[in-house]
Amino acid sequence: MAKRVEDLTVTANRRLNREYFVLELSSAGPLPEMRPGQFAQVRVEGSSTTFLRRPVSIHDFDPVENKIKLLVQIVGKGTEALSGLKSGDLLNMVYPLGNSFSLPGRGEKALLAGGGCGIAPLLFLSRYLAANGFEPDILLGFRNKERILESGEYEKFGRVFLTTEDGSAGEKGFLTEHPVLLSGKYDIVYCCGPEPMMKAVASICKEQDIRCEVSLEQLMGCGIGACLCCVVDTVKGNLCTCTDGPVFNVNDLKW
């Protein structure tokens, strides 16, 4: 999968709530082949404090419509600037980067578990699994009803389970407390979200001897394996999140 640097055109910028927005992007030529779990390094123009690119997961990729989506949470200057992009603006990206989630084995049952912004790569993964004949279950956790992101989108590709911390929608409590996660009926769990959540899911999986893949968010300098800044300490030594990851089997991590 050849990487490229390219200006994509913003075709829509949809605000989900105070904190989140979805960018839809298209390119003049065909978009490259991409896999769920991969990410882009996006260039934020216009601030001396956004010197480096920002890593953002491919939220969704529709090769037919030649469109990709990014789901972004505003946490600082760069994401704030991106939130101001308008239809027709250009966004320079280096992509697609990193490895991807593995496919389940034949007949295996998969659960996708995402919390907050961590749901970003899971929409593409759901679509991809569905396209490959799997029927994934999707467990999404949010703080409250207002913060639920795009859950309707996921329903296109699998059964969706919701949790909110305050019980305003779905099951009340943390994602990690949801019965499906504890059901033991899955062969593989794909997880993305805040590190404590991923660690909790990983340990639940370990107990049940379920394969678990997580997507990590380490600070990145380059995104292409050149700076060695994004390392994660694994049983195989320091690995680069941007090339050896961002998806890791939790057994390789020292969690």
Partner: protein, 305 residues
């Protein structure tokens, strides 16, 4: 046609744009983005005798117009280099240069000896300026007699072109450049990163695992330019300018200040094809100004001083 080639002794470079060690991996990382043979040369990631895991995460912090890093020379050591990296990089149709690092003079010497046997390596860049290791590194580059000792020892075993990479974290960099020249270096390259730091005020702790790290990027360009200018006036060997070069305009500043060539570092993180764009831009500048050879602008600003 404009000639942008230059030479270090009898080693010719088809243009003055090299990639800075530690910012271009081993070249392969950039193959999707550019044609490596379009570069004057590539300088590989810092290599040590033994494998090194480098420093703990977090290893970087963004700063105004720059970044701090504390990679700490993570690499798989010279054995792995010979077996797995050398075969790949020796296929590149450009000058491949190895950046060598050590904790003791003996490390540098042993490394230089090993690399001297690798035919396709064009030159050695002796890094006495890494700020992110506990032993060696910058300690050599900030003490004149250590700098002399290590340069002399490596020179004695190195039949390839020897480039000494200088630290900016000194009172008078000219002294170090002169010392390198006296000890037989074929060129000097400067600057390595400035020692810097950032604090995470939210968590009230240093942003880097090692507290301090190396500052690179446009922020350091004015300091780099000043040092390159000072050094280029003081030594006769070629000077390779490094520090915050993002565009060909930046590169031209260094050439006008006296550099024979330049290295592109952090820019490759922002735009992986920055280096080849700089190659083109330098040619365009020379053509627009009516020069036919890059040597005509080297140190040009000294004419009006």
């Amino acid at each position: 046609m404009v000639n942008t080639g230059f030479s270090i002794g009898d080693l010719h470079f088809r243009n003055p744009v090299l990639t800075a060690s530690g910012t271009f991996g081993y070249g392969a990382e950039f193959e999707d983005f550019l044609d490596i043979s379009a570069l004057g040369g590539i300088i590989l990631k810092g290599t040590t005798l033994e494998p090194r895991e480098g420093n703990p995460y977090p290893r970087m912090a963004e700063t105004p117009s720059g970044m701090l890093n504390t990679v700490g020379l993570q690499n798989k050591g010279i054995d792995y280099f010979e077996q797995s990296i050398y075969p790949a990089v020796s296929l590149y149709d450009t000058n491949v240069i190895v950046n060598i690092n050590g904790s003791y003079v003996e490390d540098y010497v042993a490394l230089a000896e090993r690399i001297d046997k690798l035919d396709k390596i064009a030159a050695v860049e002796l890094n006495i300026s890494c700020p992110n290791v506990k032993m060696g590194g910058m300690a050599f580059g900030t003490d004149l007699s250590s700098a002399r000792e290590v340069t002399r020892a490596v020179r004695a075993v190195c039949s390839k072109k020897l480039i000494v990479k200088l630290s900016p974290n000194v009172t008078n960099i000219v002294d170090f450049a002169r010392t390198a020249e006296e000890e037989g270096a074929d060129a000097v390259s400067l600057i390595n990163t400035l020692l810097g730091m950032a604090v995470d005020i939210k968590n009230m702790k240093p942003s880097l695992s090692t507290i301090t790290g190396g500052l690179s990027g446009p922020a350091i360009k004015p300091v780099a330019l000043r040092m390159v200018w000072q050094v280029a006036r003081a030594v006769k060997i070629p000077v390779i300018g490094i520090g915050g070069i993002m565009t060909s305009d930046d590169a031209v500043e260094f050439l006008l200040a006296g550099a024979s060539a330049i290295e592109v570092g952090t820019a490759s993180f922002i735009d992986p094809s920055a280096s080849v764009k700089i190659v083109k831009g330098i040619g365009d500048y020379l053509a627009a100004k009516g020069f036919s050879d890059i040597s005509e602008i080297r140190g040009y600003i000294n004419r009006n001083i």
